[in-house]
Symmetry: C2
């Protein structure tokens, strides 16, 4: 019997070990999962004939898997389906770090880098479950309200699964770290937090005025998760 | 005499020509520049021994050049300095597109993909000018207030320049595109705009209470540019 155990932390690999500023690195699973669950856009990197490409796309995490999806006709998904090395990076920008010296300016951020190979889901029930998880990740509460994918739509959609095994997080928080000699300079220094906030929902032309905006849209906030 | 002419638009290449949804693609220089000037984080993709990496970093555009920078000790900058193929992608997420069918959900976004090879700046004045442009791009108004880089700091900083030649933009805007058969479904549908907004500036421990927060920080808004 195969007993599958999720380790608390990821194991560092030569590719995910930080050589500089190691204090910013983390292999802690909770740190990684919190970043992956707050964001919903990743940047997918892969090379074709030696030329790297970086493509933004949405994703969802379910347990130890990261799902990305798209049209079965997509070049990116067809390339990745062949089982080539991929790097998926997720970045949250938390604010500007404003120092007294130009040199010590920085950015507060949280990022996750995932290396591995992705595999297409072939089982229709698995694909449907992944698409459900996708919507639950990006717009929690909506799946039950909308028309779910029919057979044709499922066929037109490729879902790739990337195992979360070679994974690392990098986090910078807190104030600038100026040289002591600069501390007395009369320059306002500190942090300027940046947030992603939802604006006013904008109904489309086919939504009657009597149709109430759902609570999960009115209260949409990635930071609550 | 070399006369340098900036063409209005970028020329499509086999790598930057969209095969699917070509209506989302653009080679228009103004579209590209507007995206590059609103964002300040890019994702840099490159391969080392066949393994792709995607690293988030800040950037600035000056004319037909994109600058990235960092510690001279950075693995990414040392790899790129060798003149290997790179892909730099910039993404702005403008909102969620909420359709009546799961299948037609989407995201409104603007992205730019730049392919090419980066070169380190070697001239100290060029490096200084690039760092000035960097700060002017990320925090306009601040460069003149802060202590500028000294010789040591300049030496410790690598600045790479990537020419904007093989470049394309991709943009999705507007409401969902549901199947007509779904239009009568009683599901609120439309767009939920997302914005990056600055929070309250947080002074660090060395900033006296008497030090006023500069206007350019109080009014910080990427969208104004």
């Amino acid at each position: 019997m195969l007993v599958y155990t999720t380790m608390k932390n990821f194991q560092p690999s030569p590719h995910t070990t930080l050589k500089r500023l190691p204090e910013r690195g983390s292999f802690d699973r909770d740190t990684v999962n919190a970043i992956l669950d707050e964001a919903f856009i990743c940047h997918v990197g892969f090379a074709v004939d030696g030329q790297p490409f970086v493509i933004p796309t949405s994703y969802a995490r379910v347990g130890d898997q990261l799902f990305i999806h798209g049209s079965a006709a997509s070049r990116m998904l067809r390339s990745l389906s062949k089982g080539i090395p991929v790097c998926v990076t997720v970045t949250l920008v938390d604010g500007l770090v404003l120092a007294r010296s130009a040199f010590h300016h920085s950015i507060n951020y949280r990022s996750v880098v995932i290396l591995g190979m992705a595999k297409p889901l072939t089982d229709e029930r698995e694909k449907m479950a992944a698409l459900h998880a996708f919507m639950e990740h990006i717009v929690p509460g909506r799946w039950g309200e909308v028309r779910q994918p029919d057979e044709q739509e499922l066929k037109k959609t490729t879902v790739l699964s990337l195992p979360l095994t070679e994974v690392s997080a990098k986090v910078r928080t807190g104030p600038p770290k100026d040289d002591e000699a600069d501390h007395a300079l009369p320059v306002w220094s500190g942090e300027l937090p940046l947030h992603v906030l939802a604006g006013m929902p904008l109904a489309d032309a086919h939504t009657p005025a009597s149709q109430q905006v759902p609570e999960y849209i009115l209260r949409y906030d990635r930071r609550k998760k």
